[in-house]
């Protein structure tokens, strides 16, 4: 009775754009009230699969096969009729809430528009329903507000309200929480789950985050390079992974490393009561500028060879701390020293201090000048030395080989490398002056799980070769737990908790740390479980 007619059935669907094969022989089914997760790494074609269901593929896309949605064959439906289905029978929520809303229309209008497009009803009634729906998705702001006045999580709620205001039978969510903080992510996921049960909707969620998948979905589809490699109900799949790629993916997410034991060392960084304010816009025209306190009385130390983690959500002051620590910005109060010498020395940087620390950034695509060759890119920190090395080519070759690249890569341009390779180059650049401290600023956050595991291995490997102190800044609790000896938890410019990593994770003391740990989705520990 139940399985007679699935809500959505995709049979043998293939998709090509130009000469490129994007999807091949996709098969999947989704029942009413069920949550189906499609997962896979970037480039696996999971978003394209979602867009083909909506009929919103880019120009030049050619689809074959069949997509049956509630008795309608999507691929043969005319554009006019697809428009009637979109927003009404099927809806979609996208990844980036910051840009998904029209900045010049208020949120009430944007939600009401979905109703007005599909129904002949009065504007007043539509707005009433829009307001109710905004409240239902947990948004307690007036519908006359504009998107720029809302936070990322609030905007995502508006997008969801817009998608479900007509009670669609199918909701597609493409990485709906990837751009959000963990605590916000947890709330949005709970909301989606509730809505599915309440409206008996089918939810197709696309995400790279296996922890989210395992937590939320009834059924999991794993994709790799445009193909479905495995599809099973969640408990079954977790218990018994058939395809090696699925296993590799889950293993990478649970990746554990053997950090060499930290033996203790002399003090390297000493930061005491740092305060960093930024002026925010004036409230009145000639009034004083109110101050926004990015770092509020922060104190910590890092010893030689010690690996310290820093955890916090967006806007907590992590990036400011990086810049202040690197001596790129002055502070309004407190002192920071490295081996006893101040890191900030006004306009003229103190090279002796600077060459003791380097940094690796999050975004492998913006970390390099696209117009320089790798050799020039990684040797840039030599600017800090009093004398350029006599054997630059050998040193560059060694630096590249140390991070698992080839010496020949020195002559290539950065766009020839993948994201993971770029992060290796960034690490090579950081290591070339043999610093005592490296700051990893969300250095693995933008990478796919398997690549992330490799980079983490590389970091651990490097610290086995020689004692290297680092500050590992991340919002990803699992990774931080893995690669650090000690951890600092930061919230709104303050360090709310610190201590040895295992202690903080096992027995968090501060309520914020507890919230953070509870919100972070976790994979069931092992396959046997």
């Amino acid at each position: 009775m139940k399985a007679t007619m699935p809500l959505l059935r995709i049979s043998d669907m293939s998709l090509t754009i130009g000469a490129t094969k994007i999807l091949q022989d996709i098969n999947l089914q989704l029942q009413h009230g069920e949550i189906l997760a499609i997962t896979g790494e970037s480039g696996s074609g999971k978003s394209m699969a979602a867009l083909s269901i909506m009929g919103l593929l880019p120009r030049g896309a050619l689809t074959t096969g069949q997509i049956m949605l509630d008795g309608t064959e999507i691929l043969t439906t005319s554009e006019t009729n697809l428009c009637k289905l979109r927003g009404d029978t099927m809806s979609m929520v996208f990844q980036e809430p910051m840009t998904a809303l029209n900045p010049v229309q208020n949120i009430g209008n944007q939600v009401a528009e979905t109703i007005l497009i599909h129904e002949h009803t009065s504007k007043k009634k539509a707005h009433k329903r829009a307001t109710d729906m905004l409240r239902r998705v947990g948004l307690d702001v007036a519908p006359t507000r504009f998107p720029h006045e809302l936070s990322g999580g609030q905007r995502q709620r508006v997008v969801i309200a817009m998608a479900i205001v007509k009670h669609p039978k199918l909701l597609i969510a493409d990485e709906p929480t990837t751009a959000l903080d963990v605590t916000t992510q947890a709330n949005i996921l709970i909301l989606l789950k509730d809505l599915v049960r309440e409206f008996d909707m089918g939810l197709l969620i696309i995400t790279h985050d296996l922890a989210v998948v395992a937590d939320l979905a009834d059924h999991i589809v794993v994709m790799q390079k445009g193909r479905v490699v495995e599809s099973a109900s969640t408990p079954k799949l977790l218990a018994n992974m058939l395809h090696p790629y699925t296993r590799a993916l889950f293993d990478a997410s649970r990746h554990q490393v053997d950090l060499p034991v930290y033996k203790g060392g002399l003090q390297l960084v000493y930061a005491s009561q740092i305060v960093r304010n930024y002026p925010s816009p004036r409230k009145t025209i000639f009034g004083p500028r109110p101050k926004f306190c990015a770092l509020d009385n922060i104190s910590f130390t890092i010893d030689h060879g010690e690996r310290v983690g820093l955890v916090g959500e967006s806007g907590c002051g992590k990036s400011t701390l990086t810049r202040v620590l690197l001596g790129l910005e002055d502070v309004q109060g407190g002192t920071i020293t490295l081996d006893g010498e101040p890191v900030f020395t006004g306009k003229k940087p103190n090279l002796t201090v600077r060459r003791k620390m380097q940094v690796v950034f999050q975004d492998p695509y913006s970390s390099f000048n696209p117009r320089h060759r790798v050799s020039r890119l990684i040797s840039e920190p030599w600017n800090l030395l009093d004398h350029q090395p006599d054997d630059p080519d050998t040193r560059i070759a060694t630096a590249l080989e140390n991070v698992g690249l080839s010496a020949l890569d020195a002559f290539r341009y950065i766009h020839e490398f993948s994201g993971g390779q770029r992060q290796r180059i960034a690490i090579a650049r950081a290591l070339i002056v043999e610093p005592d401290l490296i700051i990893f600023d969300e250095a693995v956050s933008a990478l796919d799980v398997s690549v992330r595991a490799q980079i983490i291995d590389l970091i651990v490997n490097l610290s086995q070769k020689r004692p290297l102190a680092y500050l590992f800044i991340s919002h990803d609790l699992t990774v931080v737990r893995n690669v650090t000896d000690r951890v600092l938890v930061m919230k709104s410019g303050r360090i709310v908790e610190h201590g040895p990593t295992e202690d903080v994770f096992n027995t968090p003391k501060h309520p914020y740390t507890r919230t953070l740990l509870a919100a972070a989705p976790t994979l069931p520990n092992s396959q046997e479980a």
Partner: protein, 314 residues
Amino acid sequence: MIRYIASRLLSLTLSLIAASIVIFAVIEIIPGDPASFMLGVGVRPDTLEALRDQMGLNDPLAMRYFSWVTGMLTGDFGISWTYKIPVSELVDDRIWVSLPLAIYALFLSTIIAFPAGIIAASHRGGMGDVSIMGATQFGVAIPNFWFAMILVLIFAIKLPWFSAGGFPGWDDPLLALKSLTLPAIALALPQAAILARVMRSSLLDNLGEDYIRTARAKGLTHRQALWRHGVRNAMIPVLTIIGLQFSFLLAGGIIIEQIFFLPGLGRLIFQAISARDLIVVESVVMLLVFVVILVNFAVDLAYAAVDPRLRSCE
């Protein structure tokens, strides 16, 4: 919102002050003494000195600047050295040719460019797009004074539909408008080509935005998404260009007025320059700059009307 207007007003005032200083300074450093220019060669030194006194040329610089500015604020632009009548009267006659011409041209340019830009963007790559964009490439390349000459040749000489020049005054508004039509078209078409291109590219930029995709996912057709979510967002760069164009049209009008023998500010300024009638030059330039700055202020206000982000922050 009030803060935004206040800050714009402040910058309006500052721009005006800065502009007036620049104009005053430029006129000051010009070689040649207007008094001796007026009296011609072979004049007696004491006569010259008397005239210099009368014209206020012997006063200190700051005082001359100050009296010039306060004069303008009260509508007193001084007395033309060649015409011997108040500059305000000279200007008053002529601005009612130049300003309507610029507005007329802006109007024509906008009503041509908007549909053209929107059609081109919504049929991207299609026949309509290709032909509109081809036409605008030519439009951008045509010098307006040459275009004016061609228009005269065709519509006034070969086909006697319009008069080749002159202005009958505003007693008969229809006739006046008719005599401004050819000059306005000559001014407007090249500008319309630019505006259409900006409109198109701005719309296309917007069509690539995430919120257009969101709108499509809601069930809006391509056309609905374009009209409801594209056009208004695309207006910001378009408004900027419209503001800039107004100043182009006012200035371009100066040359076009020559071709059509229109008694506007353009003719006045040319006559004044050749007669070294600097007070007229100074006043007309200041007036033009004033209008342009005022238009930019209006554009800033229009931004705020279009974009709620400007209303709340800043």
